[in-house]
Symmetry: C2
Subunit: 149 residues, 2 copies
């Protein structure tokens, strides 16, 4: 059975955002926020462009989604992000009361899982959706960067 709106579908949308980051010379991480199978926010990492370490894809997506909804909680929303969120972004998700986090590539060193960042009790997690594509774009970015330096 075709399931057009499954986790892979939305992760591909997050990957499109990661590609936009790549083209700007940003560490290629992308995110979308989904409510009732509709994308209500899209964002990609802009830490270099904005000169701001807090400008991770997820942080911008949370702000944009709350703005769209006109309420600061994202209780029924799902975050799709190509890289496992860091402590800051997972900590932000706690405050949003997010329903679910779906991420692509794991980040064992700086990701929230090994660092044991506390999520909101209602937030569930799905790991490693399109893991290969999500980590390949990061690898490609860092190889290119190394070759340019």
């Amino acid at each position: 059975m075709i399931q057009p709106f499954d986790d892979e579908y939305f992760m591909r949308k997050a990957l499109q955002e990661a590609n936009l980051a790549f083209d700007k010379g940003e560490v290629p991480v992308g995110a979308v926020i989904v409510l009732n199978n509709q994308i209500i926010a899209r964002a990609h990492n802009l830490t270099e462009t904005l000169n701001d370490v807090t400008a991770h894809a997820e942080m911008q997506a949370f702000t944009a989604a709350a703005d769209f909804l006109g309420g600061k909680y994202l209780k029924e929303c799902v975050l799709y992000v190509t890289l496992e969120p860091c402590q800051m972004c997972a900590g932000a998700s706690y405050w949003t009361q997010l329903k679910k986090i779906v991420f692509g590539a794991s980040e064992p060193e700086r990701g929230f899982i090994n660092l044991q960042t506390k999520l909101h009790p209602k937030t569930t997690v799905v790991s490693n959706v399109l893991e290969n594509e999500c980590s390949q774009i990061l690898k490609r970015f860092f190889i290119q960067k190394r070759n340019l330096n």
Copy 2:
């Protein structure tokens, strides 16, 4: 000996910011960022006004300080904040490579200390500067809020 630029001096500046938040009906938390004894950013909690759970005083202060400096790292900067930072804000401080965090009131439940958020290895912490004043303004806020509801 008079030490005009000690931790209490800058915490009073953060408390002034907390008072601005109080007057706007925001949970009264204020922050300043100091570089070489100069305040380079001031901010207070604006989560209600901006309808955005990421708009904690510290997050705005990090963004403003990086903007002021024209560089995204705050390696020589000190954050003064009236309430112990949460996971999100402590996680953001990791990315800024902040020199020092000085906070006022403790937050045992949602603060970064008990939740063991990882700080940047170079970041030091000073706790409970003007603790009483910093927690009193919070208590006053929640009592007033309870009475209004």
